[in-house]
C-alpha cells in the first residue's frame, strides 16, 4: 500500500526505545472494540449497539516485525466536546489531562464508511491535536451494499494522513493497518482549518494561556481552546487535571462579551467545522448504485412499527423462554444424573460421619443445585448475544423509548437497563453514557429491578415447585417467566416515574439514538460471549457458592442435637435454624417460614445462593433414581401443623419477592462506587426490599383470601 510521504514529526513519534502507545478512538458503534480485539487478540465485549465500551481498555498488538504496540481502546465519542462521563474519558486521555494516563503517542481513528460525514467530525477535531493519526475506514462492505463507496486515496490526500480501508469484522485490511502502525515515522496532518474570524482572537488568547499556565504543547493548546469554547457544560472525571484560574478567567471574559453582542460562538465554530467536513465528504463519497431504502430500512418498517414492533418483541421473548424450557431439559437431566452419581459415589466410598455429610449434603448438594441451571444460563446468553450481534437490541431500545419517555426515563437508559437483564453491575457501569446526572442516578436506582441471570435459578426452582410435572402446558410456564421479567421491567419504569417526579425532578431529554444496520451474527463472538458467561457462572458455583454451602452446612449441623432427634429438630436448633427463627416473624405474613428465611439471609451474598441453601436446608441429597430431588424435598416440606410449606401461592410469592428485593451485595458495592457514597445504595436497598415485602404481602394475603 502506498502511503503518502508528508511531513513527519520525530518529536511526536514514539521513541524506538519504548513501546509505542496508540489510542483507538471513534464514534460509538463504529467497530472499535471489534478492531481492538482483532489487533490485540483480546476478547472485549462487542455489540451491534452504541455504548458497549464505557471505560478505556488496554491491550498489546504486534507489528509485522513482531514489535509490541500498546493499544488503548477508548469509549466511543461523537465529539471531543464531551457530553457524558464516558466521552470525557476519551477527551481527557487524548488531551493528556489525565494524571493517571500518559498522553498517547499516536491516535488510531476508526470511522464508519456508511456514515462518513458524521464520523469525520471527531476526526476533524482530533487532527487539531497535532498528533500522528492513522485513519481506518471501517464497514466498507456495508457502504458498498448501501450503494456508496469512499475514495480512500482522495481522503488520504484531503486529510494528509494514512487512511486504510478495513472490514474489522472479517479481518480485511488488518495487514495494511499493522504495516502502517509499524512505521517509525507517521506524517502529521496537512489538514488546515480556518477558524471563523469572530472567534479567532479568543482562541489565540486561550491558547497562549494554556501554553503559559497549563504547560500545554502549542497545537494541543489550540485544540483545547477550541474545545473550551464549544464544551459549554464541561464534564470532568476525577483524575483529570483542572484548568489554571487565568485560563478560566479568559474564557469567562470572552463568553460574557459574546453574550452581550449576541454572538453564538459555539454554533459558529461547529457550523464552520461541518462546512469543512461537507467539502471533504463531497470529494470522497462516490455513489456506486441505487440509493433507496436499504434492507435494514425495510426490516425496520416492521420491527420498529408502533404495533408490529411490540408483537415482534413479544415473539422474540416467547421464543427465548421456550428455548430455555425445552432445549435445556436434556442437558439438565444429564447434569442432575451426574451430580447424583457423584453423591452416591462419595456415600459408598466413605463411612457415615461429618465429612461425608459435608461433602454430600453441603458441597455437592449446594453446588449441584446451582450448576444444574448451566444449560439455561447458556441458552439465555446465546440469545442475548444473537440479538446484540444482529442489531435488534437497538430496535428494542427504539420501541421501548416511547414507553420510557412517558415515565421520564432518558432514552440512553435503555442499554444500561438491557444490560441489567444479564447482571445489574455492567448495567450500572453503562449508565456512564448518560449525560444528565439526575437521569443517570434514576437509571442506577432502578437497574437492579431488571431480572438478572442470578434470579433465573430461583425462578426456575420455584416454577418447578409451583407447576410440577407435565400437568401444566409449556406455554403457561413461559407465560409466568415472561410475567416475572415484565414485572421487573414495569417496576423499574414505575419507580423511575416516581423518582423523576419527586427526588430527582428534571425534564426528560430528547433521545438521539443511532440504529445500526442489521448484520449477520458473528457466531464466534456470540459463542465466546456465551461461554464466558457460562464460565463465570461455573466459577461462582465453584468458589463463592461452594464456600457458602460448606459454611452453611456447618451452621445447619452445629450445635449438635442429642442423639435420637430428627433431622428437622437438628436443623431447628442449629445456628442457621436460630437465625431463620429470628427472621420468621418478619416473613411469616408472606407465607415464608424460618427455613425459607435462612435462604433469604444467605442469598444476600448472591441470589442463586438461595437455591443451594434450599438444597442444604432440606438435606436434598441427590438420589440416582430421582432426577429432581430438591424439588421433591421442597414439596414434602411442611409447617408444624402439617400444612404444605411450598404451596403454589408461596412459590409465586417468593418469585415476586426476588423480582423486587435487592439481594446482591456486589451491586450495592458498585452503586456506592458510582455514586460516591452510601446514601443512594442504602436508599436503594431500603426501597427495593420494602417494595418486595409489601408486594409479597399483598400477593400472599390476597391469594389466601381468594382461596389459593
Amino acid at each position: 500500500m502506498a502511503l503518502p510521504s508528508h511531513i513527519s514529526s520525530s518529536a511526536a513519534n514514539p521513541s524506538s526505545a519504548r513501546t509505542p502507545v496508540y489510542a483507538l478512538v471513534g464514534n460509538p458503534n463504529c467497530g472499535k472494540s471489534t478492531l481492538f480485539n482483532a489487533l490485540t487478540g483480546l476478547k472485549q465485549k462487542v455489540g451491534n449497539y452504541p455504548g458497549v465500551t464505557v471505560e478505556k481498555k488496554v491491550g498489546t498488538a504486534y507489528s509485522q516485525h513482531g514489535q509490541p504496540i500498546t493499544v488503548i481502546d477508548l469509549p466511543g465519542a461523537y465529539s471531543l466536546a464531551a457530553r457524558s462521563p464516558d466521552e470525557a474519558v476519551t477527551r481527557d486521555v487524548l488531551l493528556g489531562r489525565r494524571a493517571d494516563t500518559a498522553q498517547p503517542d499516536r491516535i488510531l481513528c476508526i470511522i464508519d464508511a456508511t456514515n462518513l460525514e458524521r464520523n469525520l467530525y471527531l476526526v476533524h477535531q482530533i487532527l487539531d491535536l497535532g498528533r500522528p493519526v492513522l485513519l481506518v475506514v471501517n464497514m466498507m462492505d456495508l457502504a458498498a451494499a448501501a450503494g456508496t463507496t469512499v475514495d480512500v486515496a482522495r481522503l488520504e490526500q484531503e486529510l494528509g494522513i494514512p487512511v486504510i480501508a478495513c472490514e474489522a469484522v472479517n479481518g480485511r485490511g488488518l495487514i495494511e493497518l499493522k504495516l502502517a502502525m509499524s512505521r517509525a515515522d507517521l506524517p502529521l496532518a496537512r489538514h488546515a482549518w480556518a477558524i471563523p474570524a469572530a472567534i479567532a482572537p479568543a482562541v489565540t488568547e486561550l491558547q497562549a494561556s494554556l501554553i503559559a499556565h497549563d504547560r500545554k504543547a502549542p497545537l494541543v493548546a489550540r485544540a483545547e481552546a477550541l474545545l473550551l469554547l464549544t464544551d459549554q457544560d464541561s464534564v470532568r472525571v476525577a483524575g483529570s487535571t483542572p484548568l489554571h484560574a487565568r485560563t478560566g478567567e479568559i474564557l469567562r471574559t470572552w463568553q460574557q462579551r459574546w453574550e452581550g453582542e449576541g454572538t453564538d460562538w459555539a454554533g459558529t465554530l461547529v457550523n464552520s467545522r461541518y462546512d469543512a467536513i461537507g467539502r471533504i465528504a463531497a470529494e470522497v463519497l462516490l455513489q456506486t448504485g441505487e440509493t433507496g431504502p436499504t434492507a435494514s430500512d425495510q426490516i425496520d418498517a416492521v420491527v420498529t412499527h408502533p404495533v408490529w414492533g411490540w408483537l415482534v418483541l413479544g415473539a422474540v421473548m416467547t421464543l427465548l423462554f421456550l428455548s430455555i424450557f425445552t432445549l435445556a431439559e436434556y442437558p439438565m437431566n444429564v447434569i442432575d444424573a451426574q451430580i447424583a452419581h457423584l453423591a452416591d459415589g462419595v456415600k459408598s466410598a466413605m463411612p457415615p460421619g461429618d465429612l461425608r455429610d459435608l461433602l454430600t449434603s453441603g458441597a455437592i448438594a449446594g453446588v449441584g443445585g446451582v450448576i444444574i441451571f448451566l444449560p439455561q444460563i447458556l441458552i439465555l446468553f446465546f440469545f442475548i448475544g444473537l440479538l446484540e450481534s444482529t442489531g435488534y437490541m437497538a430496535r428494542a431500545a427504539f420501541i421501548m423509548d416511547r414507553l420510557m419517555a412517558r415515565v421520564g426515563l432518558n432514552g440512553k437508559s435503555f442499554i444500561p437497563l438491557l444490560s441489567s437483564y444479564a447482571c445489574a453491575i455492567p448495567g450500572i457501569m453503562a449508565t456512564r453514557t448518560i449525560e444528565d446526572q439526575k437521569d443517570r442516578l434514576v437509571t442506577i436506582l432502578v437497574a437492579p429491578l431488571m431480572s438478572c441471570s442470578a434470579r433465573l435459578p430461583v425462578y426456575l426452582l420455584m416454577m418447578a415447585a409451583l407447576v410440577p410435572g407435565d400437568r401444566v402446558p409449556l406455554l403457561t410456564k413461559v407465560g409466568i417467566m415472561i410475567l416475572m421479567y415484565a414485572l421487573g421491567t414495569v417496576g423499574a419504569f414505575g419507580f423511575a416515574w416516581l423518582f423523576k417526579r419527586t427526588l430527582l425532578k428534571g425534564a426528560p431529554p430528547l433521545m438521539i439514538m443511532e440504529l445500526p444496520p442489521y448484520r449477520l451474527p458473528r457466531v464466534k463472538d456470540v459463542a465466546l460471549h456465551m461461554l464466558e458467561r457460562g464460565w463465570l457462572f461455573l466459577r461462582r458455583a465453584g468458589t463463592i457458592i461452594l464456600g457458602i454451602s460448606i459454611v452453611l452446612w456447618f451452621l445447619s449441623a452445629y450445635p449438635k442435637a442429642p442423639d435420637g432427634t430428627t433431622d428437622q429438630q437438628q436443623l431447628a436448633q442449629s445456628f442457621a435454624g436460630r437465625a431463620g427463627h429470628l427472621l420468621e416473624p418478619a416473613i411469616r405474613p408472606l407465607g415464608f417460614d424460618w427455613q425459607i428465611g435462612i435462604g433469604l439471609i444467605t442469598s444476600f451474598a448472591a441470589r442463586e445462593v438461595f437455591v443451594s441453601t434450599m438444597a442444604v436446608v432440606f438435606n436434598a441429597e441427590a438420589k440416582d433414581d430421582d432426577t429432581t430431588p430438591l424439588r421433591q424435598a421442597m414439596l414434602a416440606a411442611q409447617w408444624p401443623d402439617g400444612r404444605a410449606l411450598f404451596t403454589p401461592l408461596v412459590c409465586f410469592t417468593l418469585m415476586i419477592f426476588y423480582v423486587f428485593a435487592m439481594q446482591c451485595i456486589s451491586t450495592i458495592a458498585v452503586v456506592r462506587r458510582e455514586t460516591n457514597g452510601w446514601k443512594w445504595p442504602l436508599f436503594q436497598t431500603a426501597y427495593m426490599t420494602g417494595t418486595a415485602w409489601i408486594l409479597s404481602f399483598i400477593v400472599y394475603q390476597g391469594g389466601t383470601a381468594l382461596g389459593f
Binding site: 471505560e55 476525577a238 483542572p242 461429618d354 465429612l355 446526572q437 463465570l536 464456600g547 456486589s666 458495592a669
Partner: protein, 52 residues
Amino acid sequence: MSPAAQTLAALALVAVAATWLVRRALAKKKHPGCGGDCGCPAPKFPSALRRR
C-alpha cells in the same frame, strides 16, 4: 476414616471456607465492585466519576 477424624476434617474445611469468605469480603472493601464475578469490564480508573 473414623467419625472423630471426619469431624476434625470437616471442621477444618469449614474453617478454610469461612476464612476465605471473610478475606474475600474484606478485600472488596479496598476495591469495591463485583471482583470480576459478573463479567463486567474491569475499570482501569480507580476514582469514581464526578463533576468538577
